[in-house]
Symmetry: D2
Subunit: 326 residues, 4 copies
């Protein structure tokens, strides 16, 4: 956005008016004819150009159309059945990395339900960096997951990896997950969008917030019923915590863009000791929920054991969430 000043404008006064509205002035440029233009940074607060044009000293306001109008109009909540995902009452999404057997997922679902977890996650199709690693139990695991959730009145969250699997996943899941590795997989975004369900959209490890919103726009433009963004850590130069959890992005999306974001501290850190502190931090930053990897015998989990929590560990988090103190 460019704000062009009138000849008699008081520059300092206009700047103060603009920064007071949460706008960030990226540069001030003076034309050969003496006109002053203020270039507004892209991630400033949303403002109505017509309203800005009424500020004393402003001659005109120039803006491009947003490239993601459906995301801009989305709103801060997604409701699925009787569950609303919103920063007003943050949710816990929990479950194992992989659905290992029907008995395992039923057992975990029961333990989670006791801790008031309403959304059950579990992987039926697993994205693995090695072609020789276990790739998930597939369609069978989808059915186990659905039955375990139904038994306890929970919703199912699970990931789609292949266009070919979308119909089966759409049949069994309430919230379809797009993993971070597929955020830029436009063919999958279109196919999942057409399934007309709510989607949990993980951020790619190298995506800017703008690219993330555009991936959401792909889903909505093809029919998705709502988008829950999910921050799970981005790639950085220090792997002390495996990925770098970007809670600044969460705060920006929640407080400036007014969108629902959940946070996955388990994948972001890979370290059990700091999963709960970061889950609380996510909620304090404005998250609409957290997604916690949970295993009933974490030290026996075949993969990602170092980051999984036992379901009991969620009790403290549930209690904290019920407190008054965010």
């Amino acid at each position: 956005m460019i704000i062009t000043l009138s000849a008699d404008a008081e520059l300092d006064r206009v700047r103060r008016e603009l920064t007071g509205r949460g706008l960030w002035i990226a540069s001030t440029e003076k034309s050969s004819e003496g006109t002053t233009h203020l270039v507004i940074g892209r991630e400033s607060s949303e403002s109505d150009p017509r309203e800005l044009a009424t500020i004393a000293g402003v001659r005109s306001v120039s803006a491009t159309a947003s490239p993601h109008p459906m995301m801009d109009a989305h709103g801060p909540e997604v409701t699925i059945g009787n569950v609303t995902i919103s920063a007003k009452a943050p949710v816990i999404i929990a479950g194992p990395c992989s659905v290992e057997s029907e008995a395992q997922i039923r057992r975990i679902a029961g333990l989670l339900r006791e801790r008031r977890v309403k959304l059950l996650r579990g992987g039926a199709f697993k994205p693995r960096t090695s072609p020789y690693s276990f790739q998930g139990h597939g369609p069978e695991a989808l059915r186990w997951l659905r039955r375990a959730a139904d038994e306890h009145g929970m919703l199912v969250v699970t990931e789609a990896l292949s266009e070919a699997d979308v119909p089966a996943i759409a049949e069994h899941a309430d919230l379809i997950q797009i993993g971070s590795r597929n955020m830029h997989n436009y063919a999958l975004l279109k196919t999942v969008g057409r399934a007309a369900k709510a989607v949990l959209l993980k951020r790619s490890m190298a995506a800017t917030i703008e690219e993330w919103l555009l991936a959401g726009e792909y889903l909505l433009a093809h029919g998705a019923k709502g988008i829950v963004l999910c921050e799970r850590g981005i790639r950085s130069f220090d792997d002390s915590t495996r990925n770098l959890l970007d809670l600044g992005a969460v705060a920006l999306l929640a407080h400036v863009k007014k969108l629902p974001v959940v946070v996955d501290p388990s994948h972001a850190t890979g370290k059990r000791e700091i999963v709960l502190p970061l889950a609380k931090a996510a909620i304090a930053a404005g998250a609409a929920g957290v997604m916690i990897e949970t295993h009933d015998a974490p030290h026996d989990a075949l993969s990602d054991g170092a980051q999984a929590l036992a379901p009991g560990a969620l009790s403290a988090l549930s209690t904290w969430l019920d407190g008054s103190m965010r």
Copy 2:
């Protein structure tokens, strides 16, 4: 660290014992003679090699000496006068980016003291990317800052930029700040260390946690009386929030390394709307305090106005901190 197994060890059992102690197994390697070695990731929890050697199936434990023994022995608190910086009772450090005049800093100090802020920060020497920008009021500003703090019983936090200024700063400051641009400035670290004061050590925008601890080691090895680490955002590919606040590092330092870390959400984000949510998130993650840029007329601040808060905004944070809910 390398853990070498005995010939009859049960690999899965040993792995479970180790991950149960918070150790992260980076790789498993088998020697030509059939011996199995487990390589432990560097950022695992601290463990006593002698204790690990007693696990059934472990033949020997190999470890390198830590390169930062004084930081390892530092402990989670720093006490200066009657103020203790500790995650048990997080503090607020506040004040303007630059000390602009004696009147300004006295006015702000008074407003902050009413909000129970005990540490007053302000820049006398400013690190500016452009040689043509205002570089601070220098020694005079140090005296203004000291008098304003004394008037209200507050401690002074201010930054040292040059080896030549250290004596004057050491005379007036209670906590000497090393800015992020100087974390690798070893000549300055040595000089500040020799001043034998407590130091607030900001993380360089591209420093790993290990390099940050080594900078602390420089200070302690030359005489510093205590180190308060300060996370202020690192450099990343998305500048939506200017820098990327790494609260995962804060959680790791607080909960695994047991060191005091404060967080500067103002510089990390550059956006007023998300400073307070991120301050709360920092405390929830384990921070021993937050450092908030405060100006009594934020929209008039000559620099960094878009991120400064009015002192009144800190009242809510003080109240939140006094609540029971971290």
Copy 3:
């Protein structure tokens, strides 16, 4: 890899032997029993553990199996028909970003053939960050591209975006491109692998070299006939050149891993003035070829015009390549 020393080993002599073989010693660890272990960095030169075990002072060598055995055995060349892609005689791959019409691609193919370009690239399916951008002319463009290439005896390189399009692409392309956004799209990697063609595998903007090799392993494990890696710039904190071209990775892959890599300086930089200098730099670093975006009227190109070169600009590069001087 861990190298365990015998009790009477001379540490310095062993270190010198190892670094002389191109091994990088990541750490030296001493066990509670007095045994010294040298941990070898992952990206060291390939060495035969049995040969290392014969060095005086080495007691045993421990190694993990490589996670990408097929890539390790791949070799430095890929031959398709009468064209060999090899650092010994680097190739130029050229053509427009999008195939805009049959007339356009025939005209460009003719101009490129005169500059001795043997591989014609062009997009039929375009990965676009916005759902509202032009997505390519699809199957029709594949046929135009094939006919234009056949007319001039050229090979066709084009990108697959969706599992559903792979059969049509496999029918018309000689080298199937996996774009950077799909390097982690395992469903697509499997489907393209099964088409049993050679694959041009672009690096994801945030992929480590190890992850890139694992994506190649997916393709080979499912049937691909050869992998040509393609470096196209990674994501970094400075967008002065849009992406950051990683020629260090190219040198490492070419000289240490002995694999064929081509470089795409057009997408990496987005700046016409530096495309040719970086193409030459890529060849000097060890690349087996360069992929240059070419448009017959660059300033009229609907997208990415600022980086496209006119075909005439390739004449100088062809001549340089024929010189003796890499």
Copy 4:
């Protein structure tokens, strides 16, 4: 820069004119009154706003003053005594990481001079991440270095770490090096600038090109006689090559900004096998020289041995440089 169009401008024609001049259009914004503004990307080619204002359809051109006018006026060459550093005839700067003894530096200087190396580098003061590592032989090493260079008619390049050491370094060095860790150390930049010598300015591991130019501006504004920029690898998420050598930045500085840049492939990669391929790549990209770490017994070097080359290895590079083929 903002280019404001007149009401009757043909947008496509103006865009073509601008991109034809190497300008990059970052966004197109339309005002509430119907005026179209084109925002030009910061890293576009330099253009004279008055010339742009003469393009048909352009109403006015708005620009900010450059923050680094002295760097903009610097030019592509630096001459010290009888040596000119310029991309027209690239130089080799070589020598050991540390000056270990007078005998060592004299021996290496002699070997380098035979390979036509005219600039001798060596560290007297070493920046080390650990306070317990060897910190260099100090003032004594400066004298050894000077005598070794004088004996062979070479210039001396050495690093300043502390403001206090600048007088001694200025007395003995022809080109004072600012290391990457001190690029943002403004106190040191001012002190070195006042010494009125030529400066070799290494890029900080996380500096944007703009920040690097501003550090050069600090030096020039305080009196430095010329700036040779030095790219030595930036920090990235993949440490396969330790740092990430940014040859795109080198091409941009050489071909668009027209400044002298040398490249240090030794520190950038840490791997002997790829130092020479990357040195050639640097020259092909537009570098005015390369800085190569050289040790007369690389496997015995106490530090950084894995990256040092024997002087003999430079013969091939000298010959290649004399060839006609960059």
